[in-house]
C-alpha cells in the first residue's frame, strides 16, 4: 500500500492544486481517466467543505490522507472545528435538490447543497462522522480492472 498525507491551513487557494495532484497520482496508480476525474471532484468538494465550514478559526487546519491499494483508493478528509451539522439532513436536502423537477412556471433552487450527495454518487463507499471535534469524511473509490 502506498500513501500520501497532506495538511493545510484553511484557504481555498490550495484546492485546485491539491485536487489536480491527487487525481494525477490516482491516474498514475492505474485509475482510468473517468475515475481520476471523479477523484478530482471528490477531493475538491471534501476539501472545500472542510475549509469553508469546518475551519472557522484562522488557526484551523484540514488533513487529507490517501491510501492506494491494488484495486482501490481510500481517502479521508478531516477538519477540526466548525459547527456540528445533521448529516442525514444535509444529504437528504442534496438528494432532493438533485431530483427536483419544478413544475412548469417554477424555477429550480439555484443554491448550494448538492456537493456531498454528488460525492456519494461518485464513490463506492461513503462514511461521514461529525461532532464537536470536527468532521471526518472517508470514501473508497474502486479501480476498474486492467483492460490488458
Amino acid at each position: 500500500m502506498d500513501w500520501l498525507n497532506m495538511e493545510l491551513s484553511p484557504n481555498l487557494a490550495f484546492v485546485a492544486g491539491i485536487r489536480t495532484c491527487v487525481s494525477r497520482i490516482a491516474y498514475n496508480f492505474g485509475f482510468n481517466e473517468r475515475e481520476a476525474y471523479h477523484i478530482e471532484m471528490v477531493v475538491d468538494e471534501l476539501c472545500s467543505n472542510a475549509i469553508e465550514y469546518g475551519s472557522k478559526k484562522k488557526s484551523g487546519k484540514v488533513r487529507l490522507e490517501c491510501k492506494f491499494f491494488k484495486n482501490r483508493m481510500e481517502l479521508t478528509v478531516r477538519d477540526y472545528g466548525g459547527k456540528k451539522f445533521d448529516v442525514d439532513e444535509v444529504l437528504e436536502r442534496g438528494d432532493r435538490l438533485i431530483r427536483s423537477k419544478p413544475p412548469a412556471g417554477h424555477l429550480p433552487e439555484a443554491t448550494r447543497g448538492r456537493g456531498l450527495s454528488i460525492v456519494r454518487k461518485l464513490v463506492d463507499r461513503f462514511d461521514i462522522k461529525t461532532g464537536k471535534s470536527g468532521t471526518l469524511v472517508m470514501i473508497v473509490k474502486k479501480r476498474s480492472p486492467d483492460e490488458s
Partner: protein
C-alpha cells in the same frame, strides 16, 4: 479576462441581437466561478439569451454547477434562455447525475444552439 484557471471570450452569437456567447476555456471551480459570475451578471441583465460554449472547459465542480443554475434561473425569470454547448463527456456525466438536464438545453455545436433560438423565436 484571464487568470490561471479560466479564460473567457465574449462574442455576439451569429450577429443576432440579444444573444451573447461566452467561450469558457479552463476550469470552473470555487475561485473561477466568482470571476465568471462577475462577467455574466451585466450580460444577463441586458440580453435575451446566453450561451456557454464549454468545448474547452476541462473541469467543473459544484460551485460551477450552482453558477450555471443561477444563470438559468435569472434568464428564465426574464423569459430569456440559457444554453450549454458541447461539454466534454466527464462534465456531461456530472451535469447528468446532478439533475441539471431537468433544466438546461445542451447542444453539440454553437450552430445548433444558435439555430435553436431562431426556431423558438
Amino acid at each position: 479576462m484571464e487568470n490561471k484557471g479560466i479564460k473567457l471570450e465574449i462574442k455576439d452569437a451569429g450577429g443576432k441581437t440579444g444573444v451573447k456567447l461566452i467561450v469558457i476555456d479552463g476550469e470552473l471551480d470555487a475561485m473561477t466561478s466568482v470571476q465568471l459570475e462577475r462577467v455574466v451578471e451585466p450580460i444577463i441583465n441586458k440580453e435575451k439569451c446566453l450561451i456557454f460554449d464549454c468545448t474547452n472547459l476541462k473541469y467543473m465542480n459544484t460551485a460551477g454547477l450552482v453558477l450555471l443554475l443561477k444563470c438559468y434561473t435569472n434568464m428564465k425569470r426574464k423569459n430569456g434562455d440559457f444554453i450549454i454547448v458541447n461539454p466534454n463527456k466527464l462534465i456531461y456525466e456530472i451535469l447528468d447525475l446532478s439533475g441539471m438536464f431537468n433544466f438546461f438545453k445542451v447542444y453539440n455545436t454553437r450552430e445548433e444552439a444558435i439555430s435553436s433560438i431562431k426556431e423558438n423565436a
